[in-house]
């Protein structure tokens, strides 16, 4: 169970080759902030553009561990690119959770053709507090009319394109708070949908992050995913899946930082001795490796739980929490070791350090992960205590 299958090894190799050929040579360009579309065009040719599309709609329906392998390898190349490509999966989970076959055909049809997907939940006033979504969806006859503003939407600008496909969350009943939230499948070229501010970010500059303006956007009633009021449930389940992928990306970023540090320490001279002869430096490598590998196993275990239809929301939360904090710490350790070189843009570590800083913020801050995990633990204790008291 700890070994990768031959198929998974082949997949890993395939993504590594992609990274070597289409990502590594362009790291400066990626970091400049002009999201390089040519990389996505190449990615479309790999057949991996939408990892989670079901076979019924022509997808490859990859198991979760394989998805994690793809995300780790992409992120090892560049976390921004992994985030951008990952947005297709994040935007697709709602369809797997609540989409009809018809809706899945519409959504995955677009993505498999090389169009972008996006997941639009966050708003200026609704970050960690997703229940505070202020975008409204009002039913008028056989249509919904949506109004509001979304922010920090990954690849949102590209998703506003003919035949692309977004999932947008809006409130169909404000009086019900988070229970009044609903999810809608929206083609990118829908009138009333436009791009506002494009964020200029510290890192993950290979991904685009935008504000989406929704003004009197009319969509057919058939765009509703599940029922009215299912939005929060769909969003939370989506994020359970998404978090495993963010954790997998964190493993990639951590591994990249570790690899660079091994190289640095091996090549560098300190007086007449290699730097590797310093215990303070060499021992650090062991700590870094131990934490990267621990994170990786948490991800694989989460993938196992999900693929075997066992509850994994709680596990997903601690995995994201551990893996993302780990990646930042490993990047910090790497930069500590590399000193002035690590602080300069001659090194690759400063980009990894900037990139990794987003990991504990997006797709649920690590404070939210702590809320989920501690809540699950306390609820579990209460339930087992009640059960044993009832049995007495």
């Amino acid at each position: 169970m700890f070994d990768l299958t031959p198929e998974q090894l082949e997949l890993q190799q395939k993504v590594r080759s992609f990274v070597d050929e289409h990502i590594r040579p362009y790291l400066k360009e990626i970091d400049s902030g002009d999201v390089p579309e040519h990389i996505f065009k190449e990615w479309c040719k790999t057949g991996l553009v939408t990892l989670v599309a079901p076979k019924e709609v022509g997808g490859i329906d990859l198991d979760t561990k394989s998805c994690a392998i793809v995300m780790e390898e992409l992120a090892k190349g560049d976390l921004g690119i992994a985030t951008a490509f990952g947005a297709n999966n994040l935007g697709s989970y709602p369809l797997l959770i609540a989409g009809t076959l018809e809706q899945q055909k519409q959504h995955f049809g677009a993505l498999l053709e090389g169009k972008y997907g996006a997941f639009a939940l966050t708003e200026p006033g609704a970050g960690s507090d997703a229940g505070a979504v202020a975008t409204t969806a009002v039913k008028k006859g056989n249509e919904y009319v949506l109004n509001g503003t979304k922010c920090f939407i990954t690849q949102g600008g590209f998703a506003i394109d003919e035949a692309s496909s977004l999932v947008i969350f809006a409130s169909t009943d404000k009086s019900k708070g988070s229970r009044g939230l609903s999810a809608f499948l929206v083609p990118g070229d829908t009138p009333g949908l436009s791009v506002g501010k494009i964020e200029d970010k510290m890192g993950i500059r290979g991904s685009q992050t935008v504000e989406l303006i929704i003004e009197d956007m009319k969509i057919p009633a058939s765009a509703l995913l599940g029922n009215e009021g299912d939005g929060m449930k769909i969003a939370m389940k989506t994020l359970d899946s998404g978090r495993l992928m963010v954790a997998a990306q964190a493993i990639g970023a951590g591994q990249a930082a570790l690899d660079l540090t091994v190289e640095f320490i091996s090549e560098r001279m300190d007086g007449s001795r290699p730097l590797a002869r310093q215990q303070a430096v060499a021992f650090k490598l062991a700590d870094m490796e131990a934490s990267v590998e621990a994170g990786r196993q948490l991800v694989y275990r989460g993938a196992y739980l999900k693929d075997n239809k066992q509850p994994y929301s709680h596990h997903s939360a601690i995995t994201k929490l551990f893996a993302t904090d780990m990646a930042m710490q490993v990047a910090r350790d790497a930069m500590d070791i590399m000193g002035t070189y690590g602080y300069s843009k001659d090194s690759q570590i400063e980009k990894i350090w900037r990139d990794a800083r987003i990991l504990s913020i997006y797709e649920g801050t690590n404070q939210i992960q702590r809320l989920v995990a501690s809540g699950a633990l306390l609820k579990g204790y209460k339930a087992s205590k009640e059960a044993s008291e009832a049995a007495r």
Partner: protein, 374 residues
């Protein structure tokens, strides 16, 4: 045991805070984006005597005590860390080194011009691809009459490219390896600037790779005093950069506190959440402890009492504490803290530089453990 500032120190602090607010803070955002050397602001520093802080009055400086120097570094750091780093490099690492170790002739030749800001000082220690005196491009000094001639390259030269005079650590005794180094004063005219080195943070603080080709140099101190002088100057610099980090952390704390009061989630300002309160408390504690350590070391420098070790204690603690403060400030801000529109991400990148712009492998642990085991 007195924690009060003297009247003079209070005056110096006030003038630094006023100057930073009026001259340094307004340009901080822009010069981070452009990585442009703020020459007008540096000239203005000279007019306000900040460039001659460690220069004796007979050479047109103000001969300030080291607590005052730290107060200035803190005030500048809070407003504009890149400008603070330029000032520290010039006033402490270059002018400070000449004032402490230079001959009268050297002092006369450089210090008045440095106090007036007509000559800017730089500092060159790190070498490309290897630790000091270890790599193929190491800078070697050979004696030539009463002068020396330097050859080799320096990577990450502080104030590199804008400086008129550099303090350079170069090898004079190859057999003694990293211990066989001496300190030199070198005119920039005789130096080739190969390129500027772009960095994560403190981006308007110039760093460059420079080359010496039969470059004339004047010895600072005695031959093979390099390690002693370098250790000494870096202890001074660490304390000043530690003070700068306090300033950045303080700015980050103020912004984070404001954000916690005004950002509403779950129906209330996020400052009502215990998790956010704890992060604020951690930043404030980091600042408090850094202040104790930095100002304790500053007093030790002033009193010439065990300050190398005091600076090492400070650095060991503050290296981590300053970064943790930056981490927490970004986390409290969430997605906004990751955006380049906000100043938080700059604080986070800049504070990382406080202890990573000097020699890579000089661990404070070495100093502390060495003193214990001796």
């Amino acid at each position: 045991m007195n924690f009060e500032l003297t009247k003079e120190q209070q005056m110096m602090q006030k003038s630094a805070i006023d100057f930073a607010a009026s001259t340094l803070e307004p340009i901080a955002y822009d010069i981070d984006r452009t990585a442009e050397y703020p020459s007008a602001a540096i000239k203005s520093m000279a007019e306000h005597d900040f460039l001659g802080m460690l220069i004796p009055t007979e050479f047109e400086g103000i001969d300030a005590d080291y607590v005052s120097v730290a107060l200035v570094a803190e005030a500048f750091g809070k407003a504009n860390a890149a400008a603070a780093a330029i000032a520290i490099t010039h006033a402490v690492m270059a002018a400070g080194a000449i004032a402490k170790y230079g001959s009268t002739e050297l002092k006369k030749a450089y210090l008045p011009a440095m106090a007036r800001g007509e000559k800017i000082g730089g500092y060159a220690i790190a070498e490309p691809g290897a630790a000091l005196a270890s790599g193929p491009d190491k800078v070697v000094a050979v004696k030539d009459g009463d002068k020396y001639v330097l050859n080799g390259k320096k990577f990450f030269v502080l104030n590199g490219g804008v400086a008129d005079v550099y303090i350079v650590i170069a090898q004079t005794n190859e057999e003694a390896g990293q211990k066989g180094v001496s300190a030199f004063v070198v005119d920039a005219d005789d130096v080739t600037v190969l390129r500027s080195v772009d960095k994560l943070g403190l981006r308007a603080f110039p760093t460059a790779e420079i080359e010496f080709k039969n470059t004339k140099a004047v010895l600072l101190g005695a031959e093979e005093d390099g390690v002693k002088i370098m250790t000494d100057i870096q202890a001074y610099a660490d304390v000043a950069f530690g003070a700068m980090a306090i300033g950045v952390a303080q700015a980050a704390l103020e912004a984070s506190t404001e954000h916690a009061k005004t950002r509403v989630q779950f129906g209330a300002p996020i400052g009502k959440l215990q998790a956010v309160q704890w992060m604020l408390a951690e930043i404030a504690t980091n600042i408090h402890m850094m202040k104790l350590a930095v100002y304790k070391a500053a007093v030790a420098i002033q009193e010439n009492d065990d300050y190398i070790r005091q600076a090492a204690f400070m650095k060991m603690y503050a290296m981590k504490a300053s970064q943790d403060a930056g981490m927490n400030a970004v986390q409290i801000h969430g997605g906004t803290g990751y955006s380049r529109e906000d100043k938080i991400e700059r604080y986070f990148r800049d504070i990382r530089g406080a202890f990573h712009i000097e020699n890579a492998n000089e661990y404070p642990q070495k100093t502390i453990a060495g003193s214990l085991l001796r």
